[in-house]
């Protein structure tokens, strides 16, 4: 029981608001036009930046829930994916595995961020975002494409390589932002027992 039962009660409703906020942030990032970077083979879209930010600002549970809520909205027909896509059909498409990976990615990023929270800096933030935001997403997205389209794993893998440079850029941006937000307005609060547990 944290000090002051009033804060205990407030945390619940505030968490709901944080979850809704980041679901909305991911949606707004989908409205941004893709950025063409010279030397990069494919335009960079901002939406997975939202996945990374959700995990590294809100932590595991709230970050993962934010992405679940976002996907629920998309499934209900809100055209919130970049390019104005939405509806149940995007969950049946060949690249749907990447969508399914988002809540898991945000959760993993959040988990790593919480683990590193006491000594959190740019380096640790990068570790969290590269593992959760790139490794996890591709580890789910690539096999899914391969299964769904009946194509071998290597073809699906090489096809997605072009997106990796853009994702690294996003991981760097997300890490810079996460470190700055932690300094200005830290949202993640560790339970005090974690100090001894890990």
């Amino acid at each position: 029981m944290p000090a002051g039962s009033g804060t205990f009660r407030r945390v619940k409703s505030r968490d709901l608001a944080y979850v809704a906020l980041f679901a909305a942030i991911v949606a707004v990032l989908g409205l941004l036009p893709p950025v063409n970077v010279p030397g990069f083979p494919v335009p960079i879209t901002a939406q997975t930046l939202g996945v990374m930010l959700a995990g590294s600002v809100l932590g595991a549970k709230r970050g993962g829930l934010a992405l679940l809520v976002f996907l629920a909205l998309v499934a209900m027909g809100a055209p919130l994916l970049s390019g104005g896509r939405g509806g149940l059909s995007v969950f049946a498409g060949p690249t749907a595995g990447y969508l399914y990976s988002w809540p898991i990615a945000a959760f993993v990023i959040g988990l790593l961020t919480q683990l590193f929270w006491r000594r959190f800096n740019l380096a640790w933030a990068l570790v969290a975002n590269l593992i959760g935001g790139i490794l996890v997403i591709y580890a789910i997205g690539i096999p899914f494409t391969s299964l769904f389209g009946d194509v071998p794993l290597w073809a699906s893998f090489t096809g997605s390589l072009t997106f990796i440079p853009g994702d690294v850029v996003k991981a760097v941006v997300a890490s810079l932002v996460a470190v700055a937000v932690r300094r200005a307005y830290p949202v993640i609060e560790l339970p005090s027992r974690r100090a001894t547990a890990s």
Binding site: G4, S5, G6, R9, V11, R62
Partner: protein, 244 residues
């Protein structure tokens, strides 16, 4: 995140003493090691109470103590005899709260949905909710915006919607936390008139001193203490003089 409902007396109304007012008994509040309020003892029974003070003086915390959004770290706050620490649900049914930024108070995407939100939470029957929503839409000139997204309203309309959303819950008192700070002059006057016409008891925290003209009592909060307490004629000039 804990979404489990706490085993607390939620549904049944604890015994209250209507008309007892809001009673603060040696109230103090600290955030970490920072003291925001200390030694506040007073009873609010007047129909119109104003609270003024500089930024950071503790008046926002004071407002939040009155309906249990913040519970005191020392002393206690009783609303009609109900302790905000243990009977917070019953307290919040009695005391509504209007925030400075209406954007932070409107939680549903469309106007009618948002008006229905509070009464829905209270378990009011659907027909009664519909009736209250119509009443509020009419009273505050929002009938033409029933199914409009809330973000298309003007700043003044948003604040009226926020107030209407609280009134739809039929509280006996309403606490306003700087309700006009973000509004232009015309909307400030409009909201002031709306507050003036309310049948409920109100507590208004504000920087707009002319809002307080017809009030029964005005408190001046300074460095976490109530530095002055009296009629507007007594306290407002005293407060203004201290600013020079």
């Amino acid at each position: 995140m804990r979404w489990r409902r706490r085993p607390e007396a939620g549904a049944e109304e604890p015994a209250a003493t209507p008309g007892a007012g809001i009673d603060l008994r040696d109230v103090g509040h600290e955030y970490g090691d920072r003291t925001v309020l200390s030694g506040v003892s007073l009873t609010l029974t007047e129909r119109r109470v104003g609270v003024i003070g500089a930024n950071g003086s503790g008046k926002s915390t004071f407002a939040r103590l009155l309906n249990g959004l913040v519970v005191p770290t020392s002393g206690s706050v009783l609303v009609d005899g109900l302790d905000t620490r243990t009977q917070v649900r019953a307290v919040r049914r009695r005391v509504g709260f209007v925030f400075q930024d209406p954007d932070a108070q409107i939680v549903h995407p469309t106007v009618a949905e948002d008006l229905a939100f509070g009464p829905q939470n209270q378990g009011v029957p659907a027909e009664e909710i519909a009736r209250r929503v119509e009443e509020m839409l009419d009273r505050y000139g929002l009938a033409g915006h029933r199914d409009h997204p809330a973000h298309l309203l003007s700043g003044g309309q948003k604040q009226l919607l926020a107030i209407a959303g609280v009134l739809a819950m039929r509280p006996q008192r309403i606490v306003f936390d700087e309700p006009t700070t973000l509004l232009d002059l015309a909307n400030t006057r409009r909201v002031a008139r709306v507050i003036d016409e309310l049948e409920q008891d109100v507590v208004v925290v504000t920087h707009h001193l002319d809002l307080l003209a017809g009030f029964d009592r005005v408190l001046v909060v300074e460095d976490g203490r109530v530095a002055a307490d009296g009629t507007p004629a007594e306290t407002v000039p005293w407060y203004v003089a201290r600013m020079d």
